[in-house]
Amino acid sequence: MNPNPWKKSWTSGPLAQLVYTRLIEFTREPQAVFWVYFFPLLMAFSLGIAFREKPAENLKICLVGNSLSHAKWNLDNASGFVFSNESREVALGLLRRGRVDAVLESRLENGENQPLFHTDPTRSESALAKARLETHLAYLNQPTLKPIPELFLDLGGLRYIDFLIPGLLGINLMGGGLWGVGYALVDLRVRKLLKRFAATPMLVRDLLLGIAISRFIFTAGQVVILLGTSWLVFGVQIRGSFFDFCVLVILGGFCFLSIGLLVASRATKYESVNGIMNLVMLPMYVFSGVFFSAERFPEMLAPIIRILPLTALNDSLRAVMNEGRSLSLLGFEIMVMGLWTAVTMGLALRLFRWR
């Protein structure tokens, strides 16, 4: 019937075709490209700029009382302060409303002008202002005292953006695995394409592998773009080994892919898969330390938070990127992700349905 058989090369094999068509389909959906590649960048930029580290602000001090004694205290030489003069009532009002950090009053006692502090016990800036002015005054009285030398910390790896980028990588790997794999499979099932594929000699292995490989290609692109941009713009770096970083990304990606596969193993409706996805992802968004440290949650939640896969991924990414730790020190996190992968993948393959 056909005098012209189709030449088989590896590009016309099932796996290559499954990967190729998924990639092509993806690039033809502009909104998918936006969510996968531009949204994380947008998030990194807006949060990175909003929480940019600023040098500590000057402390605001209100001076009350005899101005001659103020001059004697040599306040012009005290750095890190902004001074203003007010009447006692006005100054205390400002302190109460938090507009100034402390009030320094010069009071006549035994015929001499003595300093007196008014502070707000609920604000740490207030105590800080008192302590630093006290030191300043102490140096004035004892000229032989020398300040203890001080070195400022290198902020690399400690800024908010350094904390944020590994967290964003983590949620992108999670979203990619769950939506990219789980949703994609349910979509195939709802459209009866999964059943249509089952009616061909195609192997389940090729289908799942095809989805996984195309997912890894998208993810690699995502990681490169997010990391490259945050390096160029914010100077975010990987302080540990790049190899270790890649191992974590692959392990994390595989872990969420398995969870996505499990979520999609039987769902036959978009609504039900949406529901399960949100149920799985929302707790991790909140508890796994994406935007702020998970250590802020009550102590008793810690054991549960620590075994969430996203916590393990975020923590280990931060350890490698910011602290330069090696994988050998991250055994717990690697074990958590490995276990989640093994259990969910095993269940998913057992429960998987074509229809």
Partner: protein, 320 residues
């Protein structure tokens, strides 16, 4: 009808399928069939009759509750891989990826088969050369159905399963699909097709099984079924003016039944239109009656179905 098992493309015995649930649905209640190689076999029945379920049991996509299926002499359990290479399937509802072109889709399906046709050849076989690089999402319903057909044909199947391939298509698209099915059969292929269109069944199928409520209620060639179950041909005669009692026609025209349906309109039934019609005309002339119009209605598969079940094939046709 007995078919030598060597020649049977499909053979199934006492197939049943009950979908679990509350309550369970007995979709197929004991179907036995033999389908000859090279034949176009039709399963005709109304919506919900169990056509899709029967087809999917034979396609190895559903596991029967009881009964056995043999396709090309093999079973799905033992030789599933081999059978997938030899069969092509078009499901009742598949949404192919809208963002892929026709060629990309066919190439994807071709990649699954050990021995596949050249994608370009298949595209020209379903006359979509001009749409080869169009996205599936931009095609008409008829064109999409032809792509689905192409996906079924790309593995060079011996046996084609088609589930309502023309439902919802315009008449021209339906004719195009029919032509492709006939071309496949002319090339030696076997086809199992389900439909709820009697004209489609009559046009394509050499052998038909009429199913209703999960059972085969009649089987045979369309001609045989119509002859057996379709009832008689009806002749409706309108006279110009009210005449005498029309009983005078009876002795002349081999009319089996006659009834008056209007002041000057009569409905006659006959087993042989060719014999009766000239006699009715002659009798009218000799009785001095002038005929205004004559309508005849030959039985169709629709009548076969109505005759067998008292219901119409399609829900939307309100039955008397």
């Amino acid at each position: 009808m007995y078919i030598n098992p060597m020649n049977a493309a499909i053979e199934c015995n006492n197939l049943t399928k009950t979908y679990p649930g509350k309550p369970p649905v007995e979709a197929v209640k004991g179907i036995s069939l033999q389908i000859r190689r090279g034949e176009c076999f039709g399963i005709l029945g109304p919506n919900g009759a169990g056509k899709t379920t029967t087809l999917e049991l034979m396609e190895g996509l559903l596991i029967p509750t009881s009964g056995s299926v043999k396709v090309l002499g093999k079973t799905w359990q033992k030789d599933g891989g081999w059978l997938r290479e030899k069969t092509g399937i078009s499901l009742q509802e598949t949404k192919l990826s809208e963002e892929l072109t026709v060629l990309e889709t066919i190439r994807l399906f071709a990649s699954f088969y050990e021995d596949s046709a050249h994608p370009q050849d298949i595209i020209s076989q379903v006359s979509l050369e001009s749409k080869s690089s169009s996205l599936i999402g931009k095609l008409s319903g008829g064109q999409k159905q032809r792509v689905a057909l192409a996906c079924a044909l790309v593995g060079k199947p011996e046996l084609l399963f088609l589930d309502e391939p023309t439902t919802g298509l315009d008449p021209q698209s339906r004719r195009q699909v029919w032509e492709m099915i006939q071309k496949f059969q002319a090339g030696g292929g076997t086809i199992l097709i389900t439909t709820h269109y009697m004209d489609e069944a009559e046009k394509l199928c050499g052998e038909l099984a009429i199913v209703d409520q999960g059972k085969i209620i009649a089987q045979g060639s369309p001609g045989h079924l119509i002859k057996e179950f379709g009832g008689q041909t009806r002749i409706e005669v309108d006279f110009l003016e009210p005449g005498p009692d029309p009983d005078w026609i009876l002795p002349h025209a081999e009319i089996s039944q006659l009834c008056e349906v209007g002041p000057n309109r009569f409905l006659l039934q006959t087993s042989s239109l060719i014999d009766s019609l000239p006699k009715v005309l002659a009798a009218a002339t000799s009785a001095g009656q002038s005929i205004q119009t004559i309508r005849t209605h030959q039985p169709t598969l629709e009548d076969v179905f109505v005759g067998l079940t008292g219901r119409h094939l399609r829900d939307e046709v309100a039955g008397p």
